[in-house]
Subunit: 326 residues, 3 copies
């Protein structure tokens, strides 16, 4: 007899669902946006939304659309309210919305696809939850990565999807050369924070940084330091300066750094060294993932972060010098 116990949600099933109030319900949206970077703080989410609108109205609108659809889907399917209310069911929808409008342009068809993709992201998120719970790992932005990757790979085959797709070549395509200027460096440091949401304007990155600082000054400092770590790793390996300036080697380091500094890994001296190695690894991994997906028309997204964070967190139980947080 095949006996196995992964009884992931039994307690939630039988617990009477609490009746959420209007204010709490509305706040799931900014909390969802904030959870992209693991902050359950609605002020952080509000600043993130402002940053998206400063980056372009379409990023704000489609990001909110994705957040709402993913959250509502999870709620309707019966995900426990204590998980929905802190925004854990929304953030992959946010990223799906922002990414699809970037890659497929502002069109009604894109809005329809964002709705479909956000529903899919909610289901993928719950499936990952089942798969990862035995290992005590978080799903991170993997649902967004999975759904968006497969959609952009398939998109060129769909006549009504791909008619007027945006140009998304890396900056180095038109501006090669590996000599990094001071301008590249400080722009890259802020853009590394903005690129978590696909934004490449330095002051948009600054608003995101402010959003993080509202939640925790440690997190904000970690984000900035991690962005610089990623940038320096890329520079050392010989990445084109234009890509460094656009923050393309920073954003995965930012997310990895935050994840491994107090969020999912307990703070300690060894833990900080481990987080630095993780942030550097996420940057070093970027070109490999990018080349892998470019062949099939995919995009890097936050895959390097997801893979590095999963590996670095899954390894912790074997390392007596490190402990998981929470």
């Amino acid at each position: 007899m095949a006996t196995a116990t992964v009884d992931v949600a039994a307690p939630d099933r039988d617990r009477p669902s609490e009746r959420p109030g209007l204010r709490d319900t509305l706040l799931t949206v900014p909390r969802g946006v904030a959870q992209v970077e693991f902050q359950p703080n609605y002020w952080t989410g509000l600043l993130f939304v402002i940053a998206l609108f400063v980056g372009g109205w379409q990023f704000g609108v489609f990001g909110l659309l994705g957040t709402v659809v993913a959250t509502v889907t999870a709620y309707l399917l019966g995900v426990p309210w204590n998980r929905v209310s802190i925004g854990l069911e929304g953030f992959n929808g946010t990223l799906v919305g922002v990414a699809l409008v970037l890659y497929l342009d502002v069109r009604w068809m894109t809005a329809a696809l964002v709705i479909g993709a956000a529903v899919a992201a909610a289901v993928v998120g719950s499936a990952l939850n089942t798969a990862l719970t035995p290992y005590n790992l978080p799903g991170l932005t993997a649902p967004f990565c999975i759904v968006t990757l497969i959609m952009v790979i398939g998109a060129p085959s769909y006549d009504r999807v791909w008619a007027e797709h945006a140009n998304t070549a890396a900056p180095s395509a038109t501006d090669p050369g590996t000599a990094m200027s001071w301008h590249d460096f400080w722009h890259g440091a802020f853009n590394g924070i903005g690129q978590v949401f696909f934004q490449d304007t330095w002051y948009v990155g600054l608003i995101f940084l402010a959003g993080l600082a509202v939640s925790s000054r440690l997190v904000a400092a970690t984000a900035l330091v991690s962005s610089v770590i990623g940038l320096l790793v890329g520079w050392w390996l010989g990445v084109p300066a234009a890509d460094l300036g656009a923050g393309l080697y920073g954003y995965n380091s930012v997310l990895t750094g935050i994840a491994l500094t107090g969020t999912f890994l307990a703070l300690s001296r060894a833990g900080v060294i481990y987080a630095v190695i993780g942030a550097a690894t996420a940057a070093a991994l970027t070109a490999g993932i990018s080349n892998l997906f470019t062949v099939v028309g995919g995009h890097t997204l936050t895959w390097p972060f997801v893979l590095v964070a999963w590996v670095f967190l899954a390894a912790v139980p074997n390392f007596s010098r490190l402990r998981r947080a929470g």
Copy 2:
């Protein structure tokens, strides 16, 4: 604390093997063919075999060869008879046989490869059983997908395998255009059922549908509706009409629809909506998977179904509105 127990087969080992009778033994073959669509009914399997022979003698012969080899392999290795006898060890062999004769043509070498691939599919199936049991997920047609995909990717490097391979370009390669005719529509609806076994003649699809109806009228109705759902999703996205007419956007929806309607998911109003979303997702995923594998010379096979069904079933424990069947 993350505790999980995988105690996969201990009781089976020590249970004395029941002595199967001749009739029961022979019936494992049609039952195996029927299990491609989750039906443990040998009359269904018999109609499926007839459909294969109507589609072409080689599909019938190689499909039966694969079924027998996979079943015998599992039996010889010691898989419990209660699992072998209901055909659960045969159906991946059926599909391996049909697919390889389609992609590698009728030759003695292909027959040898079907034997090897069916053995491999039996082992992969048991490995998946071990991996998926903790999550209460079925292996579905994944063993077939894994073995066949890697074989067709490798085939061009083998001088004795690839000498006279068949042409398997999509119908749209010679017949582009997205304007769907009535002829495309109704052919596509039946071909979506036939394409589960790689058949693209409408009346072959009809025989498969009859086979399903013998087992359960609900399953047959679900198959037809799901095929139409997949076709309409493809049409809405702008898929070439010739591919829709060939059923290429239907067969993954057919399998997903059946899997999520009473087979592995309990029937309920929410469940049916969930199954419709799943069937639509399987169709929408098709181009992404297809583009991904075409780059390396692979084929779509039933990968979209396998991936969507796993994700949609793995998510269920987190959704209080849905329950697993059985």
Copy 3:
């Protein structure tokens, strides 16, 4: 009975770390090299190191560098000494060092990358340990395969990494034709053993074989027979003779054969047949994996072995005729 409990490291954490002596510490290095082929015997490791230096000084130096860095990393992070001391944390570092100096040439940058890759391999190894423990599966050379694959895929994008990369085309690129000579055959048999460490000189393979014989004559015999099995499968499928002679169809069979003959699978008549099927499967899989990775600039490495061994071992609990070793 296959029972595994995921309670991943609690006991190790609280156990006081034993103080390793100098001799034991130094011997972790040759033990690490020997563990590439599952032997915890330092004499075997010493002969392997000699074989690497005979193959080229750079393979010896970079292989030792990788072994030391991976072992030290695991020790510093707090992996229990009883695991470190038998070399289980070193062997992926060995392979990383040998592979990177082959693909990226002898440069200081390559040495720096080997250090980074060996650290990453140690972390990936522990993560795999967590993921595979519930299934009672070993990590094998997967950490090496994962880290090296992603690095060689990314390398061309890094200006300072890829400047003078080595030519690593298959021998058949300049020497096509499938007619195998006696010279190809016996060279291939020994090279199949040497290619586990990327060596293609027959007497280097012979030294590796001697190293195995020091640990166990059964293992050495298994290696040689498996190498011939792989070679014959490749020849039967129509592989170019030059690739067969270079051992490219042997090394995955060698590792698979050893893994399934007494190492992770208990010796028995059914077990030996199973191991032969496994060794043949690893060879048959080689072209598929190779074609898959070549598209993105990757290399086959020992992926066929890792995948076949995992599948064949994971399947065992469902097969009453087979039992896991240990």
